[in-house]
């Protein structure tokens, strides 16, 4: 198994353990996968916070072609009704199935927390092994972004009778598209 496959497999397994799911995709296939996931989930409108990567893989175009209404501005307003939210997460952690937002921009934060179905897009080149590697990375950032958010699966609660229930105030469903952007150099 190659380094990329091994890293992704670990990430996917850990994300599934917290009720999320993921796909490993090339840049050419990613947008199609997202559009398809929303079609299947019955998501008719989505807020997209467009990063360079999302522009490059053509998410907005693919969603519109699939008949899904897309908002790229007035996110705060539309996120109240749109069922989907998409953004790029800057990092991810294989050992936890977490994605990590290093995100000052309010729209990037809103799309990840308000809609019912959030899809995060991450580059495998930005995936770290474990929690400690992620903290080491955060410690090396100067300045630290005003907001850093670890997201590990959809929102959940066990507050009624200790019964684990997925989907409370944050997304009810969470998927991650891992872009196999380049062969990653593994450090040790």
């Amino acid at each position: 198994m190659g380094a990329v496959d091994e890293l992704y497999t670990r990430f996917d397994k850990n994300l599934q353990a917290v009720n999320g799911n993921s796909w490993l995709a090339g840049k050419a296939d990613a947008a199609g996968i997202i559009a398809n996931a929303y079609k299947e989930a019955g998501v008719e409108s989505a807020c997209v916070y467009e990063s360079e990567l999302l522009k490059e893989i053509g998410v907005v175009k693919a969603l519109r072609e699939a008949g899904i209404e897309v908002f790229t501005d007035h996110i705060r307003l539309h996120a109240e009704t749109a069922k989907g939210g998409i953004s790029e997460a800057q990092c991810s952690i294989a050992d936890l199935g977490s994605i990590v937002q290093l995100q000052d921009d309010i729209d990037g934060r809103l799309v990840a927390v308000m809609p019912e179905y959030y899809i995060g897009v991450v580059k495998i080149s930005e995936m770290v092994d474990d929690y400690d590697a992620m903290f080491d990375k955060l410690c090396s950032l100067d300045p630290l972004p005003a907001f850093v958010g670890f997201i590990t699966g959809p929102s959940r609660t066990a507050d009624i009778e200790c019964v684990s229930t997925v989907g409370v105030h944050g997304p009810l469903k969470l998927s991650v598209v891992v872009i196999a952007d380049e062969r990653r150099q593994r450090n040790g």
Partner: protein, 718 residues
């Protein structure tokens, strides 16, 4: 006696079926879930690091406050350093007024509860909305949290449905997934309209001015993303120096809290992030970001107190509650604080909420030590609770206890009382070997269990007649019997002699010995505890022996701990030290001196083993006795569930809280029966008394024996 109101609250908690079921199930599954979440992570190393980084912050607290203030301010935040709860509340109140805030959404902030924010702002006409599902439910109920992490454990889905129906004026079905949807719908409206968000910090980083918040439901993120004003309130104990230091806390917090490797959301806010200022025009800009650092006199008092300073290392994970046998039965309401519950809650309440309340509730602790094993900050919770008990006994001595303890500490008086009791007891024995009923005020003692009879002839009178035929003795050992071996379990004491003789040691019994002093210690009576320590150090003359053996872990622990009484007396301290070093509990010593052997009568017997709290957790002995038993020919060892869970005896606990001790014992008996064993092996006479009493009261014909006696019998030494 414990305060009547507390007793009533205990009764009410015990009769709440939902609480019993939910909490019971949670506490039963928690240890395994927690352990699993630590796969690949070294817990001991993690908590060592937590102690280190939090300890550093506590030692440099003023620097931490200044540095955080400087760095948060540089990133556009406003920091207020409040020197009291009132000052913090006044600041928040003025801020709310000045900004014209009408509605607030809040995600769990314990500090805001300490300053009674909801009440004060509510009286000003501001709507403060709890957004965490559990907190929301108890706010509707008008109650306080029953658990630090799961506040509404005491309510079932039917009760939640009724509360939601009343609140929404729509019929809510008692289906958990639907109730969660209702909460999302109701709260969404609050999030989008709130003028201000209030958060609690799990950690605050001085070097970067960052605050951390963990949540699962996503309410923490909504509070930090939507409102234009964001206020953090947290105590000075939340500081660490660097971002890197913060990592250790979040390694332990979710694993200890809920058995998760990480919660759904872990968010770091450094100064003022952007918000959407107007959703119609899509105007964006930095939010107004405020931090109130709560630095009240209670926290400073904690920091200055050598004994309690380590409370600062607490990470508020709640693990101490989840493993506490008393908490598993009672939940948090009996702890009486609307903020902190359980063992740690007792300590925090003392400094931060109410000393009076803490004085009553510290009695709920069994001193079993399970909390210490899992504590994320490595706090010595039972020892600190013991200190509270001591301080409370000094301030408000209980005359009944005092009289009893004075008697116990007077060897001659105590021993003559026991001798008289052995003659008087047949009246209560129904012709059976156990006493099932006790008269009047002592009746609590026999609730759910019978008591053993006091021996007609105490061990001290038999001892000189026991032949000790040891050729070429390897050494001389003094036996410390303690009250139960001397006056009740005489056979066990005899077995200890025979076992040690069989491996070449002569045993002597210094007759001046008396009660070890544990009862006085557990009642907080330091004066009598010290008196017995002096007496026993003098009587045992440790310098004359190779070892001191005790077959009661509570006594062993107490004897080993005598040094604490003589810190200012070098001569006594040296003697106490020698005693401590030479003193061992039976199985440990017997195993160490070569007692392990394959001998045995070969007669098949299925034995299950119950670990004593003191032997396992205070002295770390749990392998030796199992090896001794399993090597003996004929013995099959079948482990019971939760073998190291307290039996409910807890020294004097079963006298103070029989209603709590009884269900703890009940559970132990169930686990024993599930094994199908013929016999229960124990190493503590207190456990022996508790468990055999429980079995007898239920007419279960099963023997409970000390490991020493089992070995002696199977090897044909008796």
């Amino acid at each position: 006696m414990a305060n009547e109101a507390l007793k009533q609250e205990i009764q009410s908690a015990l009769s709440n079926k939902t609480l019993g079921r939910t909490l019971g199930t949670f506490c039963e599954t928690y240890p395994e879930k927690r352990l699993k979440s630590y796969e690949g992570v070294d817990f001991e190393e993690t908590r060592e690091n937590i102690r280190r980084v939090k300890g550093y912050a506590a030692d440099h607290i003023d620097e931490m406050i200044d540095e955080f203030t400087k760095n948060c301010t540089a990133r556009g935040g406003n920091v207020f350093h409040a020197k009291s709860a009132d000052e913090a509340m006044a600041y928040v109140r003025d801020l709310v007024k000045e900004k014209g805030v009408q509605t607030i959404v809040k995600s769990k902030s314990m500090a805001s509860e300490e300053i009674h924010m909801n009440k004060v702002l509510g009286d000003d006409g501001v709507l403060v909305q709890e957004t965490d599902l559990g907190e929301f439910i108890i706010a509707l109920e008008g109650n306080t949290p029953v658990h630090m992490v799961m506040p509404a454990l005491h309510l079932n889905k039917e009760q939640v449905a009724d509360l939601f129906t009343d609140y929404t004026n729509e019929k809510n079905e008692p289906i958990i997934s639907e109730e969660v949807k209702t909460a999302r719908k109701v709260m969404r409206e609050k999030f989008t309209h709130a003028d201000m968000g209030v958060s609690g910090a799990n950690v605050a980083v001085a070097e970067t001015g960052t605050v951390f918040t963990m949540t699962n439901e996503g309410n923490g993120r909504m509070v930090g993303t939507l409102p234009k004003i964001h206020l953090y309130i947290f105590g000075i104990e939340k500081f660490v120096k660097s971002l890197s230091d913060a990592r250790y806390i979040f390694k332990a917090l979710p694993r200890n809290g809920t058995g998760q490797r990480l919660t759904s959301y872990l968010s770091l806010y450094t100064g003022a992030t952007d918000v959407c200022l107007d959703k119609e025009t899509d105007e964006k800009g930095p939010k107004e970001f405020y931090c109130v650092i709560l630095d009240d006199p209670g926290r400073r008092q904690m920091l200055e107190d050598e004994t309690f300073r380590e409370i600062f290392d607490c990470i508020r994970c709640g693990a101490c509650l989840d493993v506490c046998p008393a908490f598993a039965l009672l939940g948090g309401h009996v702890y009486g604080s609307n903020v902190y519950t359980g063992g740690i809650g007792t300590l925090l309440s003392h400094f931060l909420v109410s000393e009076e309340r803490a004085e009553q509730i510290q009695n709920i602790c069994l001193q079993c030590g399970r909390c210490k094993e899992v504590c994320g900050g490595g706090l010595h919770i039972p020892e600190m609770i013991m200190k509270l008990r001591e301080r409370s006994a000094e301030l408000h001595p209980n005359p009944t206890y005092k009289f009893a303890l004075d008697a116990v500490s007077d060897r001659k008086l105590f021993h003559s009382m026991l001798r008289i009791a052995s003659v008087a007891q047949p009246a209560f024995m129904d012709g059976k070997p156990m006493m099932r009923h006790l008269p009047m005020f002592l009746s609590g003692l026999s609730e759910g269990r019978s008591l053993p009879k006091i021996a007609q002839v105490p061990f001290r009178d038999i001892f000189p007649m026991i032949p000790q035929d040891v050729k070429e003795p390897k050494g001389k050992i003094a036996i410390f019997t303690g009250c139960l071996l001397d006056f009740v379990y005489v056979d066990t004491a005899k077995a200890v002699i025979k076992d040690l003789n069989s491996i070449g040691y002569i045993v002597d019994m210094p007759m001046g010995q008396s009660c070890c002093g544990a009862p006085a210690t557990y009642m907080g009576d330091r004066e009598n505890a010290k008196k017995t320590a002096e007496l026993n150090i003098g009587a045992l003359e440790a310098e004359k022996y190779d070892y001191i053996v005790s077959a009661c872990p509570t006594c062993t622990h107490q004897l080993k701990d005598y040094e604490q009484f003589f810190e200012d007396d070098p001569e006594m301290l040296a003697k106490a030290k020698e005693l401590s070093e030479k003193c061992y509990d039976f199985c440990k010593l017997f195993h160490m001196l070569g007692g392990l052997s394959d001998e045995g009568d070969g007669r098949e017997i299925n034995i299950t083993y119950h670990d004593s709290c003191h032997l396992k957790r205070s002295m770390g002995v749990y392998k030796e006795q199992r090896e001794l038993l399993t090597h003996t020919k004929g013995i099959t060892l079948t482990e019971m569930k939760e073998s190291d869970n307290c039996c409910g005896f807890g020294g004097t606990y079963s006298i103070k809280f029989p209603e709590v001790a009884a269900p703890i014992l009940e559970r132990k008996i169930d686990h024993i029966q599930e094994t199908g064993a013929d016999m229960v092996a124990v190493d503590c006479p207190g456990c022996m008394m508790q468990i055999s009493g429980g079995l007898d009261a239920r007419d279960i014909p099963m023997d409970v024996k000390h490991t020493a006696l089992i070995i002696a019998e199977k090897r044909g030494l008796m």
